[in-house]
C-alpha cells in the first residue's frame, strides 16, 4: 500500500521563551508511517508535539533534523501540498467573503477550472449543509458553521490526504456527529485522514490506527483494536497510562 505520510527521525527544537537561551525539544526523533486509505489518529496531551509535527508536515515549520514526506515528496516543496486538505483548529476565515467566494478563492489557488469548481463548490456546500447560507458573509456564521466551511475548504481540491487538527473542537454534539460522518464518508471513499483529537471516544470510533506521543516522543503506535486487546483497556485508559496519569481509583 502506498505510503502517504512519512517522518524519518523527525526532530524539532526551538528556543524556549521562558528559559533564556535554552532550547526546547518539541519533537524527538519521530518515525511515523501512514498508508493510503487509513484514518490515523494522532494523540497526545496539550504540548506533546502534535501540532508541531503537523506544522512540519504542512511546511509551516522546518525540522531541526530528520525529514518528512507527503506522497514521497519532501514537505519543504510546495508541490507536496497539492493533494492534501488541511483543517486547522479554530480559524476565522475571511469574514467579508461568502462561503461560495471563499471556496472559489481556494479553488483558484489549486487551478481548478471554473466549471469543475462550480460543481465542486455546490457538492461541498451540500455536504457540509451550508447550501442555504452560501451567499451570506462568513462573519454572520455561527462557530459550527465556520468549522464546516473550514471542512469544505479542506476538501475543495478533492484531496487524497486530509490533515485535521482537532476538527470537532468547540462543536456541539450535533456538529461533532456531522464531522464524524464526513470523516467516515471520506474513509469509505478511500481517502487517507490524519487527525489529532482529544475526543478519545471519537478516535476509537473512526480511526484504523493511532499514535500517542508525549513530550515529543512516540509512546505507542498501532491498530486501535490491537491496542485495546493488548492493554485490556479502552483507548482513554491506555492514553492516561501512557502519559503517566494515575486516577484516584488506581492509586
Amino acid at each position: 500500500m502506498e505510503t502517504i505520510v512519512e517522518t524519518r527521525n523527525l526532530r524539532v527544537e526551538y528556543r524556549a521563551q521562558d528559559s533564556g537561551s535554552g532550547r526546547k525539544v518539541a519533537v524527538k526523533d519521530l518515525n511515523l508511517i501512514v498508508r493510503a486509505g487509513e484514518v490515523f489518529g494522532f494523540l497526545g496531551p496539550n504540548g506533546a508535539g502534535k501540532t508541531t509535527t503537523m506544522n512540519v508536515l504542512l511546511g509551516f515549520v522546518n525540522a531541526t533534523s530528520g525529514a518528512a514526506f507527503l506522497f514521497g515528496v519532501d514537505v519543504r516543496e510546495p508541490i507536496a501540498r497539492q493533494r492534501i486538505g488541511y483543517l486547522p483548529e479554530l480559524t476565522y476565515y475571511y469574514k467579508f467573503l461568502t462561503a461560495e467566494e471563499l471556496l472559489r478563492f481556494y479553488a483558484r489557488i489549486f487551478g481548478i477550472p471554473q466549471a469543475q469548481a462550480d460543481q465542486r463548490i455546490d457538492a461541498l456546500l451540500k455536504l457540509v449543509e451550508l447550501d442555504h447560507a452560501r451567499k451570506r458573509p462568513i462573519k454572520t456564521y455561527s462557530k459550527g458553521m465556520q468549522q464546516r466551511v473550514g471542512l469544505a475548504q479542506a476538501l475543495i481540491n478533492n484531496p487524497d490526504l486530509l490533515i485535521l487538527d482537532e476538527p470537532t473542537s468547540g462543536l456541539d454534539p450535533l456538529g461533532r456527529m456531522k464531522v464524524r460522518e464526513i470523516i467516515q464518508r471520506l474513509k469509505n471513499e478511500g481517502k487517507t485522514v490524519f487527525f489529532s483529537s482529544h475526543e478519545l471516544g471519537e478516535v476509537e470510533t473512526v480511526c484504523d490506527r493511532v499514535a500517542i506521543i508525549n513530550q515529543g516522543e512516540l509512546k505507542v503506535e498501532g491498530r486501535v483494536a490491537e491496542l485495546v486487546e493488548k492493554h485490556h483497556a479502552n483507548l482513554e485508559r491506555i492514553f492516561l497510562n501512557i502519559i503517566g496519569y494515575q486516577t484516584q481509583a488506581s492509586t
Binding site: F60, Q82, L87, Y92, Y93
Partner: protein
C-alpha cells in the same frame, strides 16, 4: 500567476466591502463640492484653489487607503489564522507577498481612479476644459508612487506585529520623504562631517516620492512631464518596490507563524 491573482482578488474585495474607501471618498467629495460652491470676492481664479484642495485631499485619502489596507493584510492573516489553510495549499510565502502587494496596489489604483474621475468632472464642469492626458499622467505617477508605499508598508507588516504601529511609522516615513526628501541634499551641505555624509547617504538611499507629485502642473495648467521621464519614474518605482518586496520576502520566509 493564478495564485497571485486569487490573493489579489481577495484584497480588492476587502477594500470595496469595507467602509474606509467610501468614507474617504464622501469626505473628499463633500469638501470639494462645498469649496467649489463658495464664491470669494467674485474671484474667477477660485477654481485653482478648489483644484489644489481637491488634489491635496486625494493625496491624503490615497495614502490613508494604501497604508491602512496594506498594514493589516499579513497581521490579519496571522491573527485570524487564515495564513494556515492558505500556506497548507501549494502556495509559497513569496506568492503571498506578491499577491498581497498586487491586491493592495490594484485596489489603490481602483480607488484612485474613482477619485480622479470625480476630480476631472468637478474641474471640467467649472473650467469647461478637459486636460485628460494631464489628469491621466497625474493619476499614473501617483499610482506608481503608491506602489513604493505599498511595498514599504508590506515590509513593515512582516517586521512589526501590530498593524497600528506599522501604519504610524509608515505614515511618518512617507510624509517625511514627501515633505523633506527633496531638501535633504541642501540640509547635508550645512552639516559638518560625518553628519553631512550620513544625510547625503539618506538622500540617495530613500525613494524620492516627491518626484511623483505633479499637482502643480494640473493646478496651474503647466505643461505635462515628458512621457520618457514618466517611463523612467515608473522604472525607478518598480526597482524600489521590487527591492522592498524582496526584503519583505526575506523576512517573511523564515518567520514563525505562531501568533
Amino acid at each position: 500567476m493564478n495564485t497571485i491573482l486569487a490573493l489579489a482578488g481577495v484584497v480588492i474585495k476587502e477594500l470595496y466591502r469595507r467602509k474606509d474607501f467610501y468614507v474617504l471618498f464622501v469626505l473628499t467629495a463633500v469638501i470639494t463640492l462645498l469649496m467649489g460652491s463658495v464664491s470669494f470676492f467674485h474671484d474667477t481664479g477660485i477654481v485653482r484653489y478648489v483644484k489644489e484642495i481637491a488634489l491635496l485631499l486625494i493625496w491624503i485619502a490615497a495614502l490613508v487607503i494604501a497604508i491602512g489596507t496594506t498594514a493589516r493584510q499579513i497581521p490579519a492573516e496571522r491573527e485570524n489564522r487564515t495564513i494556515f489553510p492558505l500556506l497548507a495549499k501549494p502556495v509559497t510565502r513569496g506568492q503571498v507577498i506578491v499577491g498581497k502587494f498586487a491586491g493592495c496596489w490594484l485596489a489603490c489604483g481602483l480607488a484612485l481612479m474613482v477619485f480622479y474621475v470625480f476630480f476631472g468632472v468637478v474641474s471640467g464642469s467649472r473650467e469647461h476644459y478637459w486636460p485628460v492626458l494631464s489628469f491621466f499622467q497625474a493619476f499614473w505617477l501617483q499610482w506608481v508612487m503608491l506602489g513604493i508605499v505599498v511595498a514599504f508598508v508590506l515590509l513593515g507588516s512582516v517586521v512589526f506585529a501590530a498593524p497600528s504601529s506599522n501604519a504610524t511609522i509608515s505614515f511618518i516615513v512617507v510624509l517625511g520623504i514627501l515633505l523633506l526628501g527633496g531638501h535633504l541634499n541642501q540640509v547635508a551641505l550645512q552639516q559638518p562631517e560625518p553628519l553631512r555624509s550620513i544625510v547625503y547617504g539618506v538622500y540617495f538611499l530613500i525613494p524620492h516620492l516627491e518626484w511623483y507629485d505633479v499637482r502643480d502642473l494640473i493646478v496651474y495648467d503647466w505643461n505635462r512631464v515628458g512621457w520618457l521621464d514618466c517611463a523612467l519614474a515608473t522604472l525607478y518605482a518598480a526597482t524600489y518596490a521590487g527591492l522592498l518586496l524582496f526584503g519583505a520576502w526575506l523576512v517573511f520566509r523564515r518567520k514563525p507563524l505562531n501568533v
